[in-house]
């Protein structure tokens, strides 16, 4: 469990990072907290010859709210976001999801962008991004672009980010006053989920009818799965116990062939998801 030799770069500007990636392409890998990449390197599952540490890039570490969006820099620590009153107010689902990630020690090092760019199919933050229709900002020396969460996650550990690009930040639409829940079943507290759901619901102003809903499952497929059938049960109606049950049942249709692995069968994931969706909506 020792990595092969690699070069270590630590540019102090975004431009420095992008130049390094442009120069080395596939050979290089950005390091954004290291909670997944370093173990993968120790197992020699990842063998980058150049590691570009984003640690010193201050422009990736800002958290700001502007034009109805909460912008979280890629290098904002998970723990920092978890403790932020601004995150809690603007984006309750993100605040609810963060405590599920590993343990405090992991979140002290791990970053928002690192988790999203790593795209573990059982991770919480990619599902949060999908449920909230977040926008992912990606940059390279060729320029910057924005990618909607719906098309960002392409498969297990695979995203729309090209080899010379990095994820610089995530823009979450402000969902002030929304009700949110992140629920999962995991073998132990702090583990990646066997199955989980991220849910955000906004009610029509002053009323009880659901105006907008975002539901995404994780741990069930190659990437987060938007639960459109379940959402359809909820949108525009009152969130009664019966509606929650219906939405839960409908989520089974959103996940055609859930993952089967050593922790749970495909059937288990489908059944448990229906219950998690029901509970997530039962505020």
């Amino acid at each position: 469990m020792k990595p092969p030799k690699f070069r270590y770069l630590r540019p102090d500007s975004l431009e420095g990072v992008l130049v390094a990636l442009a120069a080395h392409g596939d050979e290089a890998k950005p390091l954004a907290g290291g909670q997944s990449l370093i173990p993968a390197m120790n197992f020699r599952l990842a063998q980058p010859s150049i590691l570009v540490d984003l640690e010193l890039v201050s422009e990736l570490q800002t958290l700001s709210r502007r034009d109805g969006e909460l912008r979280v820099g890629a290098m904002v620590r998970q723990r920092q976001a978890e403790r932020s009153a601004e995150v809690r107010a603007a984006c309750p689902l993100l605040a609810d999801a963060l405590p599920w990630i590993g343990h405090i020690q992991n979140r002290n090092r791990g970053t928002i962008g690192g988790s999203i760019a790593h795209a573990d199919p059982a991770a919480e933050l990619p599902a949060v991004a999908v449920a909230l229709d977040a926008t992912l900002e990606v940059s390279s020396t060729r320029g910057s672009r924005s990618v909607p969460a719906a098309t960002f996650f392409e498969g297990p550990f695979t995203t729309a980010v090209d080899a010379d690009e990095i994820l610089t930040g995530v823009r979450f639409p402000v969902a002030q006053g929304a009700r949110a829940a992140c629920l999962e079943v995991a073998p132990r507290h702090g583990d990646f989920a066997v199955v989980g759901v991220a849910a955000s619901v906004r009610f029509a102003s002053g009323g009880t009818l659901v105006e907008d809903v975002g539901l995404a499952a994780f741990g069930v497929g190659a990437a987060p799965v938007r639960l459109t059938e379940a959402e359809a049960q909820v949108r525009g109606v009152e969130l009664t116990g019966e509606v929650c049950e219906l939405a839960g049942a409908a989520s089974a249709e959103d996940v055609e062939d859930p993952t089967a692995d050593i922790h749970a069968t495909s059937d288990y994931r489908r059944r448990a998801l229906t219950e998690l969706v029901r509970r997530a909506l039962s505020f």
Partner: protein
């Protein structure tokens, strides 16, 4: 008695808690180099070639060796007559039988370079058919793992008792196949070995539970005299059985030091531990029980088949199966039994010793059977258990396999566990009754632990004794050396308490050493719940010899009769009067320095070494094939209260009760620590930990992301109560307790989950019990009804 029985704090914890203890990975020497191992990537294959040239050409690589290079190394010895010969060698010669088997060793300046070198070794294989399960390996047309064997049974001990058929014909019989899963002991500290050969002498630092047995093995296989080998054991961060075995690396690393003439070290990493340190517990148990209308089991037939992996491990891993076979019926009085057992080889990592050692498996099958029988007979399993347990004061009970349990508190312990368990169940019911998705249940398990056993059944070589050295130092304090190895169980503290009481001096004046074959006395190490039994036996003996001599010297100094001298708090005086007195220091000065003060005929010095062979262990079976293999049998009853969510299948152990009896309790705090840790490990096996292989024999749970070791967050609060029924035969009346906690949880939790889900007819027959398996069982029952 001042210290024995009281909560004197653990003496060894300071450095452990302060991060100052030295473990194997902290051992470094001038000029040391590191080894890494090239390991089989296939579960079963012939090696056609090993290409080492590229690795050897690396400037940072000092050496690359394969089996053919190991000149002077002999194969692992075959010492156990009742198992087949496994012809194995520290590096694979021409065939690999499990993923992870060492094929070559690479030495470099550091571990990074050694692993880079290992990645350059090219091994070509011809794949062979892979056997992963007992069922695969026992199939009529199964390929043989060892060409020279007639089948894939490493050990086969069939038993025939015709009386069973007769009783079965007259009663209802319930038949169940139980399975326990493969687990990894996973101590916090992995294995490791550092070797330094110079001036014709080999010094080995090892994280081991048995330094002397490692020394003997090194001597046998490397062709060195035992006296030319010194084994030193630094602080050990847990053993749990896996550090009893003498692994390939333990031989290859010392040999590399001999070859290179410089110190070499290898520290096992976690991936290696999960893949190549012994596994345990994978066992199929077919149990058939005939019962009467009251729910009593009147005859039992069992068939135990252990998946021992490739079997290439020394000391062998077969005797957990013997314990499963011999202890299947626990302390229950079942008139007619027939229990057969076999060890079956497959293409998995060899299995071996793991805390509980065959008992958690057996007790899971037995206690689930007791509950099933009660359910079928329509009676309360509390009543049937109670009726089948030995009555109070019945010290004459002998188990079907010949275990002479001696005096215990089997029924009292069970009654108390029922009282506490039912109370905890009521509390859980009150808490969760409002939630339609939650079910709660309680489960019980009652069992005995064979402690202080003979090692003959495991090794075919060593027996059961141990030694102690007691030396009064010139300042009047005492150095106590023991052959049992400290591995975190607290043996230094209990030894100090026993020595202090016997010598009559303060516990702070005792220091305890172990784990250095040049300094500590000969012994067999830490295993089998033997530490308390053999150290109390040998330490008391040696300390009494020393105390007698101290009294003789004191009598001379005080001009009194030696028979009248007593020792209190380090002072020696005439019985009945505090003054005049001399201190142990005064006596020690006379013994070591002012020898002119010694009474006539008394030699200088004040020390003794004594050995203790626990009494009452049979060395051969009687005419019925029965034998008592343990010095003392402790007993315990467990109760688990669980909460199951029927929509997600999640299981939470909300309360756990242990009522146990290990005879005289030397230190309640240490017994509670052993029990708490043991129960945690038992819960791990019941609900979480599972070494999984795919059909090609590739391990799928190769890191702590997938091998789920529970943390403190998953372990419930526990109630632990002590009962004390001293053994009539051991010194001080102690019985062992090291493994007891591990034995009950799979059984108690299996019963509790089955109880909670009784309305769905869920019947737990396999571990681990996971949310996925529970939900599947609930839905299967729903579909069936």
């Amino acid at each position: 008695m001042r210290y024995v029985g009281s909560r004197v704090g653990r003496t060894e914890d300071g450095p452990l808690l302060a991060g100052r203890a030295q473990y194997i990975a902290d051992v470094t020497l001038p000029g040391i180099v590191e080894a890494a191992f090239v390991r089989s990537t296939l579960a079963h294959a012939r090696i056609t070639s090993i290409g080492v040239d590229e690795a050897r050409a690396e400037p940072s690589v000092l050496d690359v060796v394969t089996a053919g290079n190991l000149a002077g190394v002999t194969r692992y010895p075959h010492l156990v007559p009742w198992m087949k010969d496994v012809d194995s060698f520290p590096l694979a010669r021409d065939r690999v039988r499990y993923v992870g088997m060492p094929v070559a060793a690479v030495v470099a300046d550091d571990r990074y370079a050694a692993e880079d070198g290992a990645a350059l070794v090219i091994v070509d294989y011809d794949e062979l058919p892979v056997l992963v399960s007992v069922d695969d390996a026992l199939a009529d047309d199964a390929p043989r793992l060892y060409d020279e064997w007639p089948d894939n049974k490493l050990m086969d001990l069939p038993v025939t008792e015709p009386e069973v058929d007769r009783v079965f014909a007259e009663h209802d019989v319930v038949r169940t196949t139980f399975r326990m899963q493969r687990q990894s002991p996973s101590p916090m500290e992995t294995r490791g070995i550092v070797a330094d050969h110079q001036n014709g002498r080999l010094t080995v630092w090892a994280s081991t539970q048995s330094p002397y047995i490692l020394r003997t093995t090194l001597s046998m296989m490397l062709g060195l005299r035992e006296s030319d080998i010194r084994v030193i054991v630094p602080s050990v961060g847990g053993g749990f059985g896996c550090k009893l075995h003498q692994y390939p690396e333990d031989l290859v690393v010392p040999w590399l030091s001999m070859r290179l003439g410089r110190p070499v070290r290898w520290i096992e990493d976690r991936a290696e531990h999960l893949m190549t340190s012994i596994h345990a517990r994978e066992q199929r148990m077919d149990v058939e029980a005939a019962y009467d209308r009251s729910g009593r089991i009147v005859a039992l037939r069992g068939n135990v088949a252990t998946n021992v992996g490739s079997g290439e491990v020394f000391i062998p891993g077969t005797s957990t199966t013997l314990v499963s076979q011999g202890c299947l019926t626990g302390a229950y009085d079942i008139p007619v039994t027939e229990v057969s057992a076999a060890c079956v080889v497959t293409n998995k990592t060899p299995s071996g010793a793991y805390r509980g050692f065959g008992s958690p498996e057996a007790i899971f099958a037995m206690e689930r059977t007791v509950d099933k029988v009660a359910r079928l007979a329509g009676v309360n399993p509390r009543d049937t258990r109670r009726a089948m347990l030995p009555a109070v004061g019945d010290g004459a009970f002998v188990t079907p396999s010949g275990g002479r349990l001696g005096l215990g508190s089997h029924r009292q312990a069970f009654d108390r566990a029922v009282e506490l368990g039912d109370k905890a169940l009521e509390a859980a019911r009150a808490l969760y009754s409002g939630d339609p998705r939650i079910r709660v249940g309680v489960g019980f398990a009652s069992f005995v632990e064979p402690t202080g056993p003979s090692y003959y059944g495991t090794t075919g070589f060593w027996q059961s004794y141990d030694s102690a050295l007691v030396r009064i130092q010139p300042d009047g304090s005492a150095l106590v050396g023991i052959g049992v190895q400290a591995i975190g169980q607290g043996i230094q503290s209990t030894t100090a308490a026993i020595a202090a009481d016997t010598l009559g001096i303060l516990i702070d004046d005792i220091s305890v050493i172990c784990g250095d074959t040049d300094l500590s006395p000969y012994g067999l190490g830490a295993w089998g719940g033997r530490g308390a039994i053999v150290t109390s036996g040998s330490v008391v003996k040696a300390a009494e010899i020393v105390a007698t001599k101290a009294k003789l010297i004191a009598a001379g100094l005080l001009e009194a009769n030696p028979d009248d001298i007593v020792i209190t708090d380090g002072k020696l005086h005439v019985r009945g009067s505090d003054e005049p007195s001399v201190t142990m220091r005064d006596v020690a000065i006379a013994a070591y320095v002012r020898t002119e003060l010694l009474p006539e005929g008394v030699d200088p010095g004040l020390e003794a070494t004594a050995t203790y062979e626990p009494p009452g262990i049979d060395t051969e079976p009687d005419e019925h094939g029965r034998m008592n293999v343990a010095a003392a049998w402790s007993n315990a009853s467990h109760a688990a209260v669980v909460k199951v969510d029927i929509t997600t299948g999640t299981i939470e152990v909300v309360d756990y009760v242990v009522v146990h009896d290990c005879g005289t309790v030397i230190n309640p705090q240490i017994v509670e620590g052993q029990t708490t840790g043991g129960v945690a490990q038992g819960i791990a096996g019941a609900l979480y930990e599972h070494v999984v292989y795919d059909e090609a024999g590739q391990p799928l749970s190769a890191s702590f992301m997938d091998y789920i070791v529970p943390t403190s967050l998953e372990i419930p609060p526990m109630t632990i109560e002590h009962l004390e029924t001293p053994s009539a035969t051991t010194t001080l009346g102690v019985k062992g307790v090291g493994e007891s906690g591990t034995i009950g949880p799979a059984a108690a939790i299996g019963n509790a989950v089955s109880d909670a889900l009784a309305e769905f007819h869920v019947d737990i027959v396999e571990t681990p019990i996971t949310p996925s398996s529970v939900l599947a069982a609930i839905h299967a029952a729903g579909a069936a009804s």
